[in-house]
């Protein structure tokens, strides 16, 4: 499988888990927008990534789900509980398809129909919603101003202007700031820019000042391409379709190029602007041309004024000069800066505005809006001139109206209209100024509820990037673990060496030094071991995540009301342990739901609340993790268990009668015992609790059950925190070392042969007033037994399944920590041994599995 696909599958599973948890939370709190956003984003991520592969069913289905989630998020549809059912169902299918993908790397085509059907069930909820086709919004960033157009030589711009005047080609401005990491994606921004249709002007500049050559990172793109192309906005949009977020595009008019440049500060011929504006109103282009040419001769060609006048002439050269553009250029002359073509474009180019309608304003847009308003205020404050008054008010109001539409403050349009009328009829701009003042004060003219929401999303994103998580293949960690195990073993050989130095070579000093060094290495090795263990630790909550869904589904199916309480999800344990836990826990939970919790009527009749409770609690208990599953259901029917045990021939009637209820209840873990009267598809197939016990014991854990009839059941799993290091007690047998897991060793006693009783063929001894069975390890392993005479017998007392047993060994040795390697290959069948461990002197020690042996 390609690594990309493997990653997709792994990540999608993570996302699905998030979605599952999120959906259940939403079911109970439909107003929880944060959750809804989480779920939506997760679905969106899956959809996005799925596009990389030929897996149409997944894309189709997630797309439908995403649409529904989006509609919920934007509150276009009302929440219904059935939605969660359908969504969960859809994502369940998805999860199965991912499994299928993992097996076959592809999905059968027939699934596409299934996907469409499932999608249709989701889309049912979308009916009745406004089905306004979403507008493709690409131009996320916008230009703050267009002054930068002046960077190109006037002659070049003039040539382009003339070309556009005759050919009527579209003109689009672009700014392309490639991602700094883009080279690693195989992108070549310069090449892409060179390929642009109708590229006319181009500027290549660094985003920030260049570092010194010695510090330059050749593979970090720090360039920005700014330019003008004779192509339509749509064409450029297509060409930049893979990097929409890095490009700013703007459809422009040829006049946009008319940015006068040059030395400013020349005196402006006072009457010229007013006279020219009058001529524009009369559309007397020839006269305007005349006075402009005359004035141009009085200025040095390098000045801003000369440049502005040349542009004015160029505009007038066209057969049909645009009065608005000419007026804007003339308006710019008194201040000798501008004109602000961006504002003109915003007022006139409807398409750009339409594209942007769907999203909230960016800060830049906000600033631009403020600037437009300020500019209008400035225009209003210009010396009044009765001749141009109407035109000026008209243009101010038109610009304002457009700007208001742009920022979606249509509520103010009416007021603006009124102000315009007043201004025109009574010749005073007071009302208009008031409107402007309000807009200028209004720091946040956004009555949009989306704004805080958006901020939250951004916050979440920042949090995410701060989280430094590394995904590592587990085999790599395992390898590290093995190596550390070897280090521990190698380290253990140092004490042997020290002993040799002392005994064989008679050098005590050397021996002591070796021991010192051993101490240091030992500490480091232990810390190393501790840290790698931490890496492998994960919270048990990982397994618990599935529970809410299980409880929800099953309780619905069985018509029971069940509340699940989960505690201590944060408790950590080794990954392998956690993984082995998953199935047993689910099995126990199923049992509790199916057999434990009674139907509501029965519960009420017994005086319990109608809603049953299952509590799953995890906590750390010394070197173990304990998990308790408690329900307040009907408890285990010990009489029924006893009956069944006798019927199955597992116990005789006498034996059974001799057991307490508590002891009887433990038998539910025996193979082939299911007390439920009828077999349901939820639990009770007779493969029940013994599987739980087997899998828990396999990782060195234990399971106990407490149950009180009518009150409830409490099942407790105890598991080691980590399987990596095993404490063993070494014993000597026939001159060899044999390990016994320390956790079952209770004590060691030296037993006089006289203290041993023989009952029938079995041996036993009295330990603290209790008769304890005695086994001989040599006998168990079918080895010959030398006569020991009257010497005391080294006896290890171990506790197996709650019962003490004495085991006679040749001699005791020290307790030690070892890395236990399970037997594999042809030896894997030897159940009597839990595995082997390498000792410091290089020898191999077998570790017994006493549970199997006895």
């Amino acid at each position: 499988m390609s690594p990309l696909l493997a990653q997709f599958i792994a990540e999608s599973r993570d996302q699905l888990e998030l979605i599952g948890v999120g959906l259940l939370a939403i079911e109970n709190h439909p107003d929880d927008l944060d959750r809804l956003n989480d779920v939506f984003r997760a679905a969106h991520t899956i959809k996005g990534s799925s596009g990389l592969f030929e897996i149409k069913p997944i894309t189709l289905l997630v797309h439908a789900a995403e649409d529904l989630l989006d509609a919920l998020r934007s509150q276009e549809v009302r929440f219904e509980r059935a939605m969660v059912d359908r969504l969960l169902d859809a994502f369940d299918h998805l999860s199965q398809w991912l499994d299928e993908m993992e097996r076959n790397e592809s999905l059968p085509e027939s699934l596409e129909t299934t996907a469409r059907e499932l999608g249709a069930t989701l889309r049912v909820f979308l009916q009745g919603r406004d089905v306004a086709a979403p507008v493709e919004s690409l131009t996320a960033p916008v230009f703050a101003d267009l002054v930068w157009i002046g960077q190109w030589a006037e002659a070049d711009r003039a040539a382009l202007y003339h070309r556009l005047a005759t050919s009527a080609e579209p003109l689009t401005l672009f700014r392309y700031t490639p991602d700094s990491q883009c080279f690693f994606n195989g992108e070549d921004p310069f090449y892409q820019v060179r390929q642009l249709l109708g590229l006319a002007l181009l500027d290549i500049a660094p985003v920030e000042p260049w570092p010194p050559l010695a510090e330059l990172d050749a593979y970090r793109c720090a360039l920005r391409f700014t330019g003008v192309a004779c192509a339509s906005l749509a064409e450029l949009t297509t060409q930049f379709r893979y990097v929409p977020d890095q490009v700013t595009l703007l459809a422009a008019t040829p006049e946009t190029l008319a940015v006068p440049t040059g030395r400013a500060g020349e005196t402006v011929h006072g009457g010229f602007v007013a006279e020219a504006l009058t001529l524009v109103d009369q559309e007397d282009w020839a006269s305007l041309r005349g006075i402009t040419e005359t004035l141009l001769d009085t200025y040095d060609p390098d000045t801003w004024m000369a440049s502005a006048l040349r542009w004015l002439l160029r505009m007038l050269d066209s057969t049909m000069p645009d009065p608005a553009a000419v007026r804007l250029l003339l308006d710019a002359i008194p201040a000798q800066q501008g004109p602000d073509w961006l504002q003109a474009l915003m007022s006139s180019s409807a398409p750009v505005v339409a594209v942007l309608l769907q999203r909230p304003l960016s800060e830049i847009e906000q600033a631009a809006f403020q600037r437009v308003v300020a500019e209008q205020a400035r225009v209003l404050d210009l010396p009044e001139d009765p001749a141009t008054w109407a035109g000026r008010i008209g243009s101010v109001c038109a610009s304002l109206a457009n700007a208001l539409r742009y920022v979606r403050r249509t509520d103010l349009l009416e007021e603006l209209d009124e102000a315009e009328e007043i201004a025109l009829s009574v010749h005073t701009a007071e009302a208009l100024r008031n409107v402007l003042a309000r807009l200028l004060d209004d720091e946040q003219p956004l009555p949009d509820e989306e704004a805080p929401l958006l901020a939250k999303v951004e916050g979440a994103l920042i949090d995410k990037s701060a989280l430094k998580t590394l995904k590592v293949d587990q085999t790599k960690v395992d390898r590290l673990m093995d190596l550390i195990g070897e280090l521990v073993v190698a380290k253990n050989s140092l004490p042997y060496l020290a002993r040799r130095a002392e005994r064989v070579y008679g050098s005590r000093d050397l021996a002591r030094e070796i021991k010192d060094q051993y101490g240091v290495i030992n500490r480091i090795a232990q810390e190393l071991q501790g840290s790698i263990m931490q890496v492998r630790m994960m919270p048990v909550g990982h397994v618990f995540q599935r529970f809410p869904r299980l409880v929800r589904d099953l309780s619905k199916k069985l018509d029971k009301k069940i509340r699940l309480v989960v505690e201590g999800e944060g408790t950590e344990a080794d990954k392998n342990i956690i993984e082995t836990l998953a199935d047993p826990l689910i099995h126990i939970l199923r049992n509790s739901i199916d057999h434990g919790i009674e139907p509501p009527e029965e519960r009420l009749a017994r005086g319990k609340p109608g809603e049953g409770q299952i509590r799953v609690k995890a906590y750390q208990d010394n070197d173990n993790v304990a998990i308790e599953i408690t329900d307040d259901g009907r408890g285990v029917d010990s009489a029924a268990v006893k009956n069944k045990l006798v019927r199955r021939g597992l116990l005789t009637v006498e034996q059974a009668d001799g057991l307490s209820d508590h002891e009887i209840v433990q038998w539910i873990f025996a193979p082939g015992l299911s007390t439920a009267d009828q077999i349901s598809d939820i639990s009770g197939r007779g493969v029940g609790m013994d599987v739980v016990r087997t899998s828990v014991e396999r990782v060195g854990g234990s399971v106990t059950v407490h149950s009180q009839r009518g009150v409830g059941t409490d099942i407790r799993l105890t598991l080691p925190l980590s399987m990596a290091v095993t404490h063993v007690m070494a014993v000597e047998l026939d001159g060899k070392l044999i390990g016994v897991p320390m956790d079952i060793v209770v004590e060691t006693v030296r037993l006089a042969p006289a203290a041993i009783y023989t009952i029938k063929h079995r041996e036993a001894f009295i330990l603290r007033d209790r008769l304890t069975p005695l086994m001989r390890l040599r006998r168990l392993l079918e080895m010959t037994e030398p006569a020991t005479g009257g010497a005391a017998l080294a006896t290890l007392v171990v506790k197996i399944r709650g019962e003490s047993v004495g085991i006679v060994v040749d001699n005791f040795r020290e307790g030690m920590e070892v890395i236990l390697k399970p037997l594999d290959g042809v030896l894997a069948g030897l159940k009597h041994y839990a595995g082997t461990a390498l000792l410091g002197d290089g020898s191999v020690m077998l570790v017994l599995n006493l549970k199997e042996l006895l």
Partner: protein
């Protein structure tokens, strides 16, 4: 190699790819009086362009490719 490094002159030929950006940067760092010839160059990767912009070595022969010369040369001759 589309870039030939001579003693103090680098000759660019054909399409110069991203892989050559690092060697070029190294060379330019070691050769403060470096000159470059672009005559036979038809395209250079953005990464190379960037290195040239920072190092700003004199271009003795501009590209023959008129289109490349048109976009490249103004940028390279900035701030000279």
């Amino acid at each position: 190699m589309p870039i030939h490094f001579l003693k103090s002159v680098a000759c660019f030929k054909g399409v110069c790819t991203v892989e050559e950006a690092e060697p070029l940067l190294q060379w330019l760092q070691d050769q403060p009086r470096a000159k470059i010839k672009l005559r036979e160059c038809t395209h250079l990767h953005t990464a190379i362009l960037q290195v040239l912009l920072v190092a700003n070595p004199p271009v003795t022969l501009p590209p023959q490719d008129p289109e490349l010369a048109r976009w490249l040369m103004p940028a390279l001759q900035n701030d000279r």
